[in-house]
């Protein structure tokens, strides 16, 4: 019955106009960034190389598709969670608000299965978003700007990765980015179980992300204890794939923390959803 319910959720998501808002927004945002980079990309990246250019000269195709994709991912990673939450935050509360949940929960399927099917469908939707982002940024970036080595600016300096050493990093990076977005999706669905209006979970999810991000960036000793366990700290874990040497331990830790968040959030959501009285 879980599969049947999940299939139903896919039908509902694909039929909702709002589901295409996110994909459309990504298309437009990426398009705008690609256009800007095509017009004046070199001056953007010269900002990165300025302090080195007194003594050094950088030869080769700096502004290539790989760098463009990296810049796009870097710019959009704070905005994509909103586009994900826009759909996933509505999966439970939207049906509660419309009353459709009454019919749904009088069917011979357990509430846990109903909720899990929503998590699965939300996860697949998030996967579609990240795949679309990848296609738009990496594929179209490479078509417009060509291929080449990737120059990445990390906190401890500039890393230049060979062209044939990049694709697997992008795959790994996107996989971890997906995990981060999946955590956002899980959070929004969990919040969706506590309310009966559509906007609440979406706004609350974004507020939590913003709050945790601020806590993560404030260089205050008080927050040092909790910072490593905030999921927002690990939302940028995808960048670790572009470091040399690859910080495997750090990436593994990020993966486990993100997965841990999802387990906790799903558990909370299941408990709430199963004990909730449907009075709407």
């Amino acid at each position: 019955m879980l599969l049947a319910s999940t299939y139903n959720e896919f039908i509902k998501i694909t039929a909702k106009p709002r589901s295409y808002l996110g994909l459309g927004a990504i298309t437009i945002l990426v398009g705008v960034i690609l256009f800007a980079l095509k017009v004046d990309g070199l001056s953007m990246i010269s900002f990165v190389t300025t302090s080195f250019e007194q003594t050094l000269t950088f030869q080769g195709n700096l502004l290539n598709g790989n760098l463009v994709a990296f810049i796009i991912l870097q710019m959009l990673i704070i905005h994509i969670p909103l586009l994900v939450a826009l759909v996933t935050g509505d999966l439970v509360s939207g049906e509660a608000a419309s009353g459709a949940i009454r019919i749904l929960l009088t069917k011979p399927i357990s509430r846990t299965q109903v909720l899990l099917s929503k998590f699965i469908a939300g996860g697949v939707y998030t996967l579609c978003m990240i795949i679309w982002l990848g296609l738009m940024s990496v594929l179209i970036g490479r078509v417009l700007f060509g291929q080449g080595d990737l120059m990445v600016l990390n906190s401890d300096g500039l890393v230049i990765l060979k062209e044939n050493d990049i694709s697997w990093r992008y795959l790994g990076g996107f996989a971890v980015a997906y995990l981060a977005l999946l955590t956002v999706s899980t959070l929004s669905i969990c919040l969706s179980c506590f309310t009966e209006n559509s906007i609440g979970p979406i706004v609350t999810t974004m507020a939590i992300i913003i709050l945790f991000t601020i806590i993560g960036t404030l260089d205050v000793r008080f927050f040092d204890q909790i910072r490593p366990y905030l999921f927002t700290t690990h939302m940028a874990a995808w960048r670790s794939y572009f470091e040399v040497p690859l910080p495997t331990a750090q990436i593994t830790k990020s993966i486990f923390i993100l997965l841990g968040h999802q387990v906790v959030l799903i558990s909370i959501a299941i408990i709430k959803f199963n004990t909730k009285d449907i009075t709407s």
Partner: protein, 228 residues
């Protein structure tokens, strides 16, 4: 009337300079003549950079040169090269009227006596301020050079020769750069979640090593290669 003792002293004082000046110009002229034997060349190059704050793998490429000042490196991927000290020396030496050479001293480097010659560019408004050459006068080879420019400061290059010694083309060039001014810009591409970065003591110099193999000399190079 100048006393003879004073004349002798005067001669003793200026004679070495006159002698050196003549030697410096001759020495540099010999170098130029040697280098001018090469009308064009292409060579495979491997560029290895050890520069603080930059992590880059070795890059392979091809260097193309054609007299007088056509020069291009085509590398697969991104290569980092010193801004100065690579082509400007060859360009300076290509025309005698571009510089004046002054011999300063002799230095022992690896048990080899080297003549230290200063090249002062005649163009006082240009970026190049001074080029210092350590020359093995027995072989007419530049062993070390130090280029000072207004924009880039001082870059030192060490030359190692192999098969192409006779025409003054090195097998290995090692550049040493001043990296004190290097810093990481915050913003576009930084990791905002990283705080408390442990500050390591940053070395003050960086190195770029160019290893040349498979010189193709005076085989003719199409001018199209030098167009971007």
């Amino acid at each position: 009337m100048i006393p003879p003792s004073i004349r002798v002293l005067f001669l003793l004082f200026f004679l070495p300079f006159c002698t050196f000046a003549q030697d410096a110009s001759t020495l540099v002229a010999k170098l130029s003549a040697k280098m001018n034997q090469v009308k064009d060349y292409s060579v495979q190059v491997r560029i290895q950079s050890q520069i603080p704050l930059i992590n880059i793998f070795p890059v392979n490429g091809t260097v193309y040169y054609k007299q007088v000042d056509k020069f291009r490196i085509i590398a697969k991927g991104i290569a980092i090269l010193p801004k100065q000290g690579f082509t400007d020396l060859a360009q300076l030496l290509s025309k005698k009227e571009r510089y004046s050479a002054i011999s300063t001293k002799t230095e022992q480097v690896n048990d080899v006596p080297l003549q230290v010659v200063n090249l002062l560019p005649t163009d006082e408004t240009g970026d190049l301020i001074l080029v210092k050459l350590w020359i093995d006068s027995t072989k007419d080879l530049i062993i070390k050079s130090q280029t000072t420019t207004r924009s880039s400061g001082t870059i030192t290059a060490n030359y190692q020769y192999g098969k192409q010694q006779a025409i003054g083309l090195p097998d290995i060039l090692v550049y040493t750069l001043d990296v004190k001014k290097f810093k990481i810009p915050k913003g576009l591409a930084t990791d905002i979640n990283r705080t408390n970065i442990p500050t390591k003591a940053q070395p003050k110099t960086g190195k770029i090593t160019l290893t040349f193999t498979n010189y193709q000399i005076n085989k003719g190079i199409d001018d199209k290669i030098f167009k971007n």
